[in-house]
Subunit: 695 residues, 2 copies
């Protein structure tokens, strides 16, 4: 899966079959997003219809059928896309390669928004199902949702390697249990013992509704039902993760996923209708329902109708649904940084996101995604219906543009064939190819038409219900991406190589900044001397008269091999006087390169980072503005860095027992112990020889 | 003022009299905190008494008198402190020098808490007075408070230099207008035309109250009234800002401040009592008051009683009160970073806070203070009464410990005199000195006793009302400070200099990391060559085959003077392969010093920082863990850095017109223009000579 590619598993490069995914593991990983959406799609569909009154539920089967048809078309369209672009770029790659920069950027923006909403919607729905099983948790709906997002982020930050197997079990439990529920429910209906939902008793106030409003209502319900399609495109992003033959396996998995989704969706909707689930957007609209209680989700109502309230299967289904929804949210945490990496590679995002194999990059991306998702959940109060309004837009934008890109792809192929000389064109293979192209063109044209229509419908019906936010976010993100792209391109022009520029200099000076005479300074001095600069000397900023006299005395006492210059600092600043001194030096001695040596502390605990290096970093930043300066950082590993890096800079008794000269392989008993303070005074003779050379 | 010292005003070092503060400017700056507390102290005092019923207001004059006595004693005590410790360290210095580390740290923690609460209480009271004048703003009380904190932070970040004069006017307006109000009110009372407050008509439910509870109530009211003392110590922190004679002027200012505070406090309280201000903690307890409206502050009630509702003087007083309170909050934004700097100097806080003259340090401190204050305001919903409960604790902790420290100071002096030989002891000067010491001892003993008693009272009466939070915060902060101190001390031991450690090496190698052949890389190559290392070569990490072939071709084409080595990276990481290569090199060639050259981009816009340098920084961090490595950063100033630094690294046509070789003094018309892209190809002959040498 994409995550395995991201984790840079060392075995990835050997590409052995054991670490690619067999179909039975690939299905749960890729399908969790698509299958989990059956948890909320029927609910949202019925909810919209119910706003017109109970009579409108009659439209439900037709709308569900339309959703199924759309699902079939989309699945078939993506089978074509997988075959044509097996590298795993998905809609983004298709759009960029076939339609150009701007459509590609729009798709990327839509996908980024989509990832955020996948997390928000999935977690909100998961929490909804949990609360449906344990209604006492209702006051903490938002807190639970935020907590789950944090949990997912933490788990991802730790990097679960065996995630593929962890995915498989809950997903199969979900498919199995919901499937069994549907079968049992159908049997009960067939035997005349139809299940009855808990909300069947509640009526709804019927509103007077015009004919135009009826059509609008049906379309709105259809739009909400289309949330069942979210997640279908996931397979197209992960073709490379399949075992060979990759394309065929991916296509098969996609088909299986589509089939299972259709079965679950239709089954759930059917049983919900027969058992009389009445689900309202505002539970207080249900006449007879005590709306201080939370309204149980459709899945909860169906499972309790089929199996009985608070029965074991009921809790199993609720738990499996919740877990599958959390897994769906989890897929976004892999997709988001992966997309960021691809965008960075193409220059549309900061280059920092492109370093594959670096766990830190993805940590940043995951944290950002988590924070935005938490923000969205808080603002929308984990209200599933409101979030769904935003969700579908981004999905159908990338569907539609992807399909249009595929149309371009096929027509280009057809045109190329048309340019061939006639004799080639009539060969068997070319005609077979042309047939394949035309078939692909037909399928994707159908897909593009349908998804574009749905996009228009969804936009019109949901714009005022919150979708305008997405229509604001996507252009803003696209604008930023194009801006970043232009910026990097301009910088490339700026730093373009030419043969005219040389950076020669008329000298080379090294200065070591000295505050107190301590070991890290001595190390810096020795490194500076090793480099054999034209001139090397130490520099101390005179901030306090006592300190200055002390350092001068120390310098003489330890017979340091280079001179120490004192720079006055009347205003008690550090960087200013040094910068001034460097400028004056270069005026007098011509344009030398001045290398400033600074010790840099490496530490073992995160909080130590707050206590070291900051002043040196500020001085370095200001000095780098001076013409001719370069900064050399000489690392000093404090004892604590042993904890995570396994070595330190200080030599302690016991180090010389280590085999290699200069390698401080410390016996394990010394680690995590108290820091050993060397007594002042001459060392024992056995130590002096070993400690005198330290590379 | 301390702020001027912090801003490192260039004229500070000349110490000329014009930039120290005359008393008439020092008073408003130092007194704003102390004087502004008269805005809420009488209110809080009456509020507590009223919980027992209207009859308890009879205690008010006695309690006010006790507060005045305490104020007098505290002012006199601080006069002594100023004289003994004119360097401006205040209570912290006194505690640390006389009582030791732990009391000093406790005082510092109390002061830090105090600063946060100064901001919160002052802003909450200011907003309260604004809402008293404009009751329509009541629903946005918390938002207004948060907004004002943000405003103060922003103003401080921009660094108002002429702040002293900005302080003076509103403070004098406040003193003047409130003074006039008191005088007018007293005249009205004297002429039998006493003002009547708007809340005089509202009664309060009287509770049955035991005698013990009466005493407790009186003490609680006294504790709240002591909030009038907050801010008195400010002068002791800024003695150095006064003109000469500094100590005398500071003492005089302190006395003036105390006198004005006493007059305003007693006058306000008197008129409030006579006019029948009834102020309740929960406005709904006022019988007859419509508590959907906000309860006007005491200041507002008195001023509207004296001058008439919504009259011009009423709005002037409310405005002046609000501004003075905001100025009081502002003083915390100078004190907090200054205290942080002092603590860092002593090793109790990260050293990064100790760089005086560096605006950035104080920016961080100000932002932290602002965020914490905003958090406190949100949690306490800008409720003044609740915040006051916390406020007084911290103030009286530092009062008390400071006074005890002064006792130690005097007794030490007395003991030293006692150790002198008898003939010296009886000289005039020594006897005069002894008298002064005894006088100081008496005054501070009295002060210590009284403030300690108040501390006990305040603790007992307010503990359950929220003060326990402060008793949690102060130990936690103290614990952290002691921990930091111990840590730095341990590190000092670790890196202590000794003569046995040498860091010689058997070679010196420079490697330049090359991604693409661009100008910053060429600059790094030239700087490396200038340093004349034993060996110098370039290194490219082979992440993509195309890129590798391209760079090798480019390297040959431009005839680069050093060899280019390609390092394989099968997992597409950067730092790992280089680290491995360095280790192998050192194994084969002995323990060389390996200097890694990395270009570092300097940019003009803050957002550009997100787009550069990150990958290089990560590589550097990982490489510094390898034994024998040091990192050299070679700066490249992108064109945008001209906007803030006035120079860039790239040479453009027009630069050679500049006088100095190597100084890119660009004509002003070129700045902020579009980036000039140099066309490929040989330059015009007039340019080539100048551009060939660039230091």
């Amino acid at each position: 899966m994409a995550k395995r590619l991201i984790l840079g598993d060392p075995l990835a490069s050997t590409d052995s079959d054991e670490h690619l995914l067999p179909k039975k593991l690939a299905l749960p990983i890729f399908a969790s997003d698509a299958l989990s959406s059956v948890a909320y799609a029927p609910q949202e569909l019925l909810l919209i219809l119910m706003t017109g009154g109970l009579a409108f539920l009659a439209f439900a089967p037709w709308i569900a059928a339309a959703v199924v048809v759309l699902l079939v078309v989309v699945v078939i369209s993506y089978r074509q896309l997988i075959k044509a672009y097996p590298s795993g770029g998905g809609d983004y790659e298709v759009a960029r390669k076939n339609l150009g920069e701007i459509p590609g950027v729009i798709v990327a923006s839509a996908l980024l928004v989509d990832y955020v909403l996948t997390v928000a919607v999935s977690v909100a729905s998961g929490v909804d199902n949990i609360i449906s099983a344990l209604p006492g948790l209702n006051p903490w709906r938002v807190e639970l949702a935020v907590g789950f997002v944090i949990l997912i982020v933490v788990i991802n930050l730790r990097g679960v390697r065996e995630a593929s197997r962890a995915f498989a079990i809950p997903t199969y439990v979900f498919i199995g249990s919901v499937g069994v529920m549907i079968v049992v429910g159908l049997i009960e209906i067939a035997t005349g013992n139809a299940p009855v939902a808990s909300s069947a008793q509640y009526a709804v106030e019927t509103q007077d509704i015009t004919q135009a409003a009826v059509i609008l209502l049906v379309l709105r319900a259809f739009s909400s039902g289309c949330s069942a399609l979210t997640g279908v495109e996931a397979v197209s992003n992960g073709v490379q993760a399949f075992r060979r033959p990759k394309v065929k396996n991916a296509q098969t998995t996609l088909a299986m996923m589509g089939g299972i989704a259709i079965l679950l969706f239709t089954g759930l909707t059917a049983i919900a209708l027969v058992s009389g689930v009445h689900y309202a957007e505002n539970p207080c609209d249900l006449i007879g329902f005590d709306c201080s209680n939370p309204q149980p989700s459709l899945m909860a109502q169906v499972s309790s109708a089929v199996f009985g309230m608070n029965s074991i299967p009921f809790f199993i289904i609720q738990a499996a649904t919740a877990v599958v929804l959390l897994l769906a949210a989890n897929t976004a945490f892999n997709g988001f940084p992966l997309l960021g990496s691809v965008l960075a590679r193409d220059g549309y995002a900061p280059k920092a996101l492109n370093t594959r194999g670096d766990r830190l990059v993805y940590s940043n991306g995951m944290i950002i995604l988590g924070l935005i998702a938490i923000g969205v959940l808080i603002v929308y109060q984990a209200n599933l219906t409101n979030l769904i309004q935003l969700y579908i837009i981004g999905v159908f934008v990338s569907f539609t543009i992807g399909q249009i890109g595929m149309i371009r792809h096929w027509t280009r192929g057809i045109r190329e064939i048309g340019r061939l000389p006639t004799d080639q064109r009539s060969s068997q293979s070319v005609r077979g190819e042309l047939f394949g192209l035309r078939k692909g063109l037909f399928i994707n044209s159908l897909g593009a038409t349908m998804t574009a229509s749905v996009l228009v419908i969804v936009t019109i019906t949901k714009f005022t219900h919150g979708a305008w936010l997405v229509f604001l976010a996507i252009p803003i993100l696209s604008f930023l991406m194009v801006g970043v792209h232009r910026y990097y391109r301009d910088v490339e022009h700026e730093i373009e190589m030419d043969d005219q520029t040389h950076f020669g200099s008329s000298g080379d000076v090294a200065i070591i900044l000295v505050n107190k005479l301590q070991k890290p300074v001595v190390k810096a001095v020795d490194y500076a001397l090793a480099a054999k600069h034209d001139k090397t000397f130490a520099v101390h900023i005179a901030v306090s008269k006592d300190d200055t006299e002390a350092i001068e005395a120390e310098w003489r006492r330890h017979r340091m091999p280079i001179p120490l210059k004192i720079i006055e600092s009347p205003y008690r600043t550090y960087a200013g006087p040094i910068a001034e001194w460097v400028r004056k030096y270069r005026e007098e001695h011509g344009s030398s390169v001045v290398t400033v040596y600074l010790p840099q502390y490496i530490v073992g605990h995160w909080w130590e980072g707050l206590l070291h290096n900051r002043r040196a970093r500020r001085i370095a930043q200001q000095l780098m503005l001076v013409h001719g300066v370069s900064i050399t950082l000489v690392p000093w590993l404090l004892d604590s860095s042993e904890l995570i890096y396994g070595r330190r800079s200080r030599v302690l008794p016991g180090d010389e027992r280590a085999g290699r000269a200069g390698q401080h392989a410390v016996p394990a008993v010394e680690r995590r112990g108290r820091r050993v303070v060397r007594p002042a005074g001459p060392p024992a003779p056995s130590e002096s020889a070993e400690v005198s050379r330290q590379g």
